[in-house]
């Protein structure tokens, strides 16, 4: 099979006997062996487990009893998800040797669907970053241009899927960490509604913002991956107890009559003109397919990054208090308990994680809480109200995913410059609204561009329908990077 075959193409071939799960998994493992030294997508390749899962899948197809449309699909999983018996580092030295005693809920659900997990992928340490350069272990390179970043924080999974080193994958999106790398790598990244997918077994960064999110080569696969993991989980108190639609069944319904809003504030100064043109052309395609298009305003857009960089670090400073050298991970000896904890954290965390812990601790500390954290939570309400007003008039918002294309390694060494890259993705994070980045063209230099569609709470189905209609009407899905 082709290295860039979609999951639905692979599993249809398995069902017909035109391809075999074990041979396909062996192909992926061989490509990882040959090419991942260039890309750096994986932190851990689980070769033996993958081969065993592929053999079991093959036996099920032989018996005519595949478990799901994902049975035998080779996937890449961000190293932020706990995997029983398989090292889970979160991209950090502080968890370099951590071996979880249990599976995250999404990992368990993927196994039950018959998926083959190829390995754990590289990421910015504790999911803090937009380039995967903050991994404590190694760089990940964008398969379209190895001198550039794949985006982040879920850059390893994005690079694996784009580079033919996995057929699909999972990451987490806290401020854009799946949509942005999907845009940079020319694939689909889908952040569902907050609470749609269980976060149990996901190593926490910012608990009110962390979203489990799939990467895929096309929208059909996105629907299958999302459907396999979505739904209530009693082990996550924030997971929403509502039925999950059959997402694959809504594809093909088209966009006739769909009302699309184009937010003015997402096309202002700072947006790369090539992206501006590509996204506007994509909106024209949706109009030609029968959608109506109108401008809308989200006036607080420019405050999103400042709000996010108070709320997320504040939550992180609390969540990361658990890394104390006692229960798991690194320990550096000290003269007493506090000294041991302080030395352990100093040695175990990288510069960006320390920066965010300091920022969050400051924003929550006595005398500053109301001015920073309190004010940011109120602005979060204003951001939400912007979207509520827009969704009175339209069904879906269409915008760029990122202000620029994939940048070079080292190009954004200033932390604030890196944060500004999240300007178009943080609003949907803070409001918990579903949002997808879908490929919508290439820059003159041949780098992928993503269009972001944002939908109403729990209305993933409409987003998938619109993204599918767009994808089927455009040629982008057929282009792939060449790593050989």
């Amino acid at each position: 099979m082709d290295a860039h075959a979609a999951i639905h193409e692979l599993t249809a071939a398995f069902a017909k006997g035109a391809a075999l799960p074990l041979a396909v998994t062996e192909d992926y493992l061989a490509r990882i062996g040959a090419l991942d030294a260039k890309v750096g997508a994986y932190l851990t390749v689980t070769r033996d487990e993958a081969l065993a899962a592929a053999r079991a899948s093959e036996a099920r197809y032989r018996a005519g009893t595949p478990l799901s449309p994902l049975d035998g699909a080779p996937l890449a999983i961000k190293d932020v998800f706990c995997t029983a018996g398989v090292r889970t580092t979160c991209g950090s030295k502080i968890l370099e040797t951590f071996v979880p005693p249990y599976d995250a809920t999404i990992v368990e659900r993927l196994r039950k669907a018959g998926a083959v997990l190829l390995g754990k992928t590289n990421m910015d340490e504790f999911a803090m970053g937009s380039s995967t350069e903050h991994s404590a272990f190694h760089l990940t390179r964008n398969p379209w241009d190895l001198a550039r970043v794949p985006g982040g924080s879920s850059g390893g999974s994005a690079a694996a899927v784009a580079g033919g080193l996995a057929a699909g994958g999972f990451g987490t999106d806290t401020g854009g960490s799946v949509r942005q790398p999907a845009a940079f790598c020319g694939i689909v990244g889908f952040k569902p509604t907050y609470g749609r997918v269980s976060r149990y077994g996901l190593i926490a960064f910012a608990s009110s913002l962390d979203h489990v999110s799939p990467f895929a080569l096309d929208i059909h696969d996105t629907a299958l991956l999302l459907g396999a993991v979505a739904g209530h989980d009693p082990l996550d108190a924030t997971s929403i107890d509502v039925p999950v639609p059959d997402y694959a069944a809504v594809l093909g319904a088209g966009v006739k009559g769909l009302r699309i809003g184009v937010p003015d504030e997402y096309f202002e100064a700072g947006l790369d003109p090539e992206i501006d043109r590509a996204v506007r052309a994509a909106v024209d395609v949706l109009r030609d397919l029968g959608a109506t298009v109108e401008p809308v305003s989200l006036p607080t857009t420019s405050y999103g990054v400042a709000t996010y960089y108070v709320v997320a670090p504040a939550e992180a400073s609390s969540n990361l208090a658990r890394y104390d050298g006692v229960k798991y991970g690194l320990r550096v000896p000290g003269k007493d308990l506090i000294d041991m904890v302080s030395r352990t954290r100093a040695a175990g965390f990288g510069a960006e994680v320390k920066r965010r812990i300091m920022l969050g601790t400051y924003a929550l500390s006595a005398g500053y809480h109301d001015a920073y954290y309190g004010q940011a939570q109120k602005v979060r309400t204003l951001v939400r109200q912007d979207f509520e007003r827009a969704f009175e008039r339209v069904d879906v918002l269409a915008a760029p995913t990122t202000p620029g294309v994939a940048f070079r390694h080292g190009e954004k060494a200033d932390p604030l410059a890196m944060y500004m890259n999240d300007v178009y993705t943080v609003p949907a994070s803070m409001t918990g609204l579903p949002a997808v980045s879908v490929p919508c063209g290439f820059s003159d230099a041949g780098l992928p561009i993503g269009m972001q569609l944002i939908g109403r709470t729990l209305d993933e189905a409409t987003l998938l329908r619109a993204a599918h209609a767009y994808e089927q009407a455009t040629p982008w899905r057929a282009r792939h990077p060449s790593l050989a």
Binding site: V99, P101, T193, Y194, G195, S208, L209, P234, T238, I240, Y303, V305, A306, Y309, V310, S317, A321, G325, V326, K327, Y328, G329, L330, R331, P333, D336, L337, I338, D339, M340, S342, R345, A346, F349, K354, R355, I357, M358, L359, T361, Y362, S365, A371, Y372, G374, Q375, A376, K378, V379, T381, L382, R384, P415, L416, Y419, M430, T431, G432, L433, T457
Partner: protein, 101 residues
């Protein structure tokens, strides 16, 4: 403007042993980031309620009953140091006159 003393105070609260060079760098970087965050003060939020969560869920309850959980060995398997059935840590309290031992 954030001071060296602020950085030292926050580092202590966060249990981070920073080097001198790290403290100065942190002060400069936090100063820049906080100056940007200060743009939020321009917004009038006097009549706005805070949002702590995108999807408001309250009082998620379950029955108070025994359920399977991790065994002791599994829970302790990643501990840097253990002592029998316990996590082992350095001493927490100084022993002094009059304190219970």
């Amino acid at each position: 403007m954030i001071s060296r003393q602020d950085v030292e105070h926050v580092a202590r609260l966060a249990r981070l042993a920073l080097t001198d060079a790290e403290r100065e760098r942190m002060r400069e970087q936090l100063d820049g980031i906080l100056a940007y965050i200060d743009t939020l003060r321009a917004l009038d939020t006097s009549a706005t309620e805070p949002t702590s969560h995108a999807v408001p869920l309250v009082n998620v309850m379950r029955d108070d009953e025994n359920r399977p959980c991790l065994g002791q060995d599994a829970a302790l398997a990643n501990a840097p140091e253990r002592s029998g059935a316990f996590f082992r840590v350095p001493k927490i309290l100084e022993e002094g006159p009059g304190e219970p031992s």
